[in-house]
Symmetry: C2
Subunit: 198 residues, 2 copies
């Protein structure tokens, strides 16, 4: 399995209008594109992927939403489709444990600490000043990897402190600063190449 | 300059609702994501990029829409934003020549033949059975390149015949079949790497 964690610092934590994802929903469009990048092949879904969204916007508390590629249904590649499933999850009364809202999509209360403790593994942190992914030893890097990416605001100091206990590697995917969903495409491509030509 | 041509076989050629891009607008969501992939950096626009969309859906005739990265305005990364500019272009009375609809976005009547004749250069055709991009000599490949990509339907036989006169290379970007917008991310990354580390 491959896991991607994306932090949405402004992403709202209550149901929102599908007609204004960037504005009223707190840059929810970024998280929706990350769902697309992480889960979609041309005519298929990547079944070996988990996506974890951390929604930190109003009104709170912080919520976690998980997309399980092996079970997800009713998901199309467009932003609005992912947004619709996120919205349905936010309509649930979130508990301290995972509750499934639609097939393959679950929600719980919790923050970055809770999620990393639950996953219990070292993570790979994407940052533009990290070491180039093509310079890494992939057999180590890509063993059931957990990638952590920020939204348009990156990670703040508190978050960077939290991940220190979990940080295995800080990597980058190229010489320019890219959107999180674009980084996910590049990560998948490196892993696809290794899996097909080990 | 780098140019990307994407063919939307079902993409409608008259104004459409922004609330149903995949359905009523004929998979317009695919073209919108290609705009995003081709033009967006993390907090910037790629100024050295042209994107050409070929809209072949109802009611016709076929229309071409051009996004010029050096001039485009009012564009945000979300699908709906690109869709809104495409819609505004379709509200214009398209002629046989380019007419600007909003800053950096233009429209004309025309089809694939017309566009390739106008550009007057060999193209690079993305197809999953093409030669791996990482095996190519990039200094040849990436000299003011024009990339051609299909939508979810690929290219049909007529289109493949048309491009024979313009086809320089058929390449792929990895071992799996990917969405057009994901391919564009991978193409940009190869070019970014070469430009920053020639």
């Amino acid at each position: 399995m491959k896991s991607f964690i994306i932090i949405g610092h402004k992403a709202v934590t209550s149901p929102f209008s599908l007609n204004d994802l960037p504005g009223a929903a707190g840059r929810m469009d970024i998280l929706c594109r990350c769902i697309n990048s992480a889960l979609f092949l041309s005519h298929d879904i990547r079944r070996d992927v988990f996506v974890y969204l951390i929604l930190k916007g109003e009104p709170g508390p912080v919520k976690l939403i998980r997309f399980d590629g092996s079970k997800v249904r009713y998901l199309s590649p467009d932003e609005r489709s992912a947004a619709s499933l996120i919205k349905k999850a936010l309509e649930k009364n979130a508990q301290e444990f995972w509750t499934e809202s639609t097939a393959g999509v679950s929600i719980r209360k919790g923050n970055l600490d809770d999620l990393l403790a639950e996953l219990g593994k070292e993570i790979i942190y994407l940052r533009e000043d990290g070491e180039d992914i093509r310079a890494k030893r992939p057999e180590k890097l890509f063993n059931e990897p957990i990638f952590l990416l920020g939204d348009h605001m990156g990670l703040n100091c508190d978050e960077e402190t939290i991940i220190e206990g979990y940080g295995q590697e800080t990597i980058s995917v190229g010489p320019l600063s890219l959107h999180a969903d674009h980084c996910i495409i590049l990560l998948h491509n490196e892993m696809d190449r290794i899996e097909k030509n080990p």
